[in-house]
């Protein structure tokens, strides 16, 4: 077990509150804002940001969930189709400022897929990006507007975000990626 904790539950909570303020500040209010979480862990994070905004602005922003599976550029490379988690965008995207929310920003390919998917639903006025962790190693010209924590990593490392809604507790840690043939002793819970 070589996992190293890089964010505690409290730190995650504070990062979410700060991001929620940043989002409202950048928009100069909440007019036209909508949050869209990327499946899976972006969805609870988007809900938390919405709850934080509701607390200090007394406005309930629409929150959606986006599954990017069908937009991935590596479907022909994987051995098994990823299981689809569901898309639910219960509001009109046309003219909205959509803040995409995800747990980890890495190569940027997920975000590219998410933008492609969003645009199939309508024409947002703007798309912004909020992530809990930016771990670098971008392969596409994509950057986040709001970042919980910048974490320098190597490509061999793996960033594990746990959120209470899915995993039972809040925590971010860094571990080493399993190589082929290695026993799965350090399997993620």
């Amino acid at each position: 077990m070589t996992d190293r904790q890089i964010m505690t539950g409290d730190e995650i909570r504070r990062a979410i509150v700060r991001i929620s303020h940043e989002i409202v500040e950048k928009q100069a209010g909440t007019q036209g804002l909508a949050l869209v979480g990327i499946q899976r862990r972006g969805v609870p994070l988007a809900r938390r940001i919405a709850a934080a905004i509701e607390e200090h602005e007394e406005v309930r922003l629409p929150v959606g969930a986006l599954d990017i599976t069908f937009y991935r550029d590596d479907l022909s490379l994987v051995a098994q189709q990823p299981i689809v988690k569901g898309t639910d965008l219960p509001f009109d995207l046309n003219g909205a400022t959509v803040v995409l929310v995800d747990d980890v920003l890495y190569t940027g390919r997920t975000i590219r897929c998410a933008m492609d998917a969003l645009i199939d639903f309508g024409r947002p006025r703007a798309i912004r990006l909020a992530v809990l962790i930016d771990r670098g190693h971008r392969e596409l010209p994509i950057r986040a507007d709001h970042v919980g924590k910048n974490v320098p990593t190597s490509r061999e490392e793996i960033v594990m975000v746990r959120v209470e809604e899915i995993d039972g507790n809040d925590e971010v840690s860094i571990g080493r990626q399993l190589r082929a043939g290695e026993p799965a002793a350090a399997e993620h819970p």
Partner: protein
């Protein structure tokens, strides 16, 4: 939390947990007999997502971008073929459509040669319909890609059975068929739809009744008896009867099958009129089913023979829903099959993508 919401939440978690990890590993889909119940549930969940795509302003996703789907139909078909081709296009696949009437088949080319040629031309997924039972199994032996059975002889029509199952689940509380009475009325003997439905509906736990004239049920009673004795684990008993009122009474689902005119020549049926009088689904017969029962038909219909016109357009009929669901089910199957690579270390690679935390790492 209020106490009365608790059991439902617990039941849902318990019901969904075991199926979460199911991954698709079938290279071909030739019939539903080799598909396990958790795999059927995976198809149903994937179909839900495809329905979501069909409800969007742009009904197209790039999931199979650049993949080549070829439809090879040795038998007349409009709805199945158009349904497959629409499904493939909705996933951005390139579609090549071959009907044997205008192909080299008329010059005497064999099935195996045709399939080898199509593979050399770049076909990756082959959707095939053939009048000979088992033909897709031969195709699967020689074809390097994926074969999807679009109906073979009297044998199997797996996508029809799956779209029927999906449609039934939409209309039953909780999508649960366990203990629900499903009556299939018509020419069971010659029906690939009935045969595939027997596998999927008994796997779903439905109380299945097959009904038709004795001449069109031949052999079914032996099959029913064998399964009644628990011959196939996971597949429950089903019933065979020539009494349509027994079959339909208190049913949740009533399905009529097409009666083909050529059956008259073999002496299996005296006349269409007699069939309609004794077995046709008319309003009076359907009224014996449950009040909320649905009426299904795989099409194309002989209105006035196996189903009365007023029943076919009544509020209970879900026949056009079946057609719409067919596109979504076929999208789900094309998507799942396209990911099943032969020889790939499915477990490892699949895991890297599906382990919840590893997504960014794997991408």
């Amino acid at each position: 939390m209020s106490v009365d919401t608790e059991p439902a939440a617990v039941a849902h978690a318990a019901g969904s947990a075991p199926t979460q990890e199911v991954v698709w590993h079938h290279r071909h889909l030739l019939d539903v007999d080799v598909v396990t119940w958790p795999e059927i549930e995976l198809i149903m969940r994937t179909t839900d997502e495809m329905k979501g795509i069909l409800a969007r302003p742009i009904r197209k996703v790039p999931a199979l971008n650049g993949r080549r789907v070829t439809t090879l139909f040795y038998e007349a078909s409009t709805r199945t073929r158009v349904s497959f081709e629409t499904a493939a296009r909705n996933l951005s696949a390139d579609v090549v459509s071959i009907s044997t009437a205008t192909s080299s088949v008329t010059k005497g080319e064999s099935l195996v040669d045709t399939i080898r040629t199509l593979e050399a031309l770049g076909a990756e997924i082959l959707v095939m319909r053939h009048s000979v039972s088992g033909a897709p199994y031969l195709a699967a032996e020689v074809f390097g890609g994926h074969v999807l059975n679009g109906g073979d002889g009297w044998h199997a029509h797996p996508t029809q059975a799956l779209l029927d199952l999906y449609t039934m689940r939409q209309h039953l509380p909780g999508g649960d068929l366990r203990g629900r009475k499903v009556a299939i009325v018509g020419d069971i003997l010659h029906s690939r739809v009935a045969r595939s439905n027997i596998w999927s509906l008994t796997a779903a736990g439905a109380d299945l009744w097959l009904c038709g004239p004795a001449t069109l049920l031949r052999g079914m009673d032996r099959w029913a008896t064998a399964w009644g004795g628990g011959a196939i684990p996971g597949h429950g008993r089903f019933h065979v009867t020539s009494d349509v009122d027994t079959a339909v009474r208190d049913a949740d689902v009533v399905m009529a099958l097409r009666i083909q005119r050529e059956r008259m020549q073999g002496g299996l049926l005296p006349s269409l009129r007699e069939y309609a009088a004794r077995f046709g689904l008319n309003a009076e017969r359907v009224s014996r089913a449950k009040g909320e029962a649905i009426v299904m038909h795989p099409g194309p219909m002989n209105e006035g023979v196996e189903i009365a016109p007023d029943v076919a357009i009544s509020g209970r009929a879900v026949i056009t829903e079946q057609v719409a669901n067919g596109v979504a089910v076929r999208m789900a199957l094309l998507y799942l099959l396209a990911g099943a690579h032969e020889g790939a270390h499915a477990h490892e690679a699949g895991h890297a993508h599906e382990a919840p935390h590893a997504r960014e790492a794997a991408r």
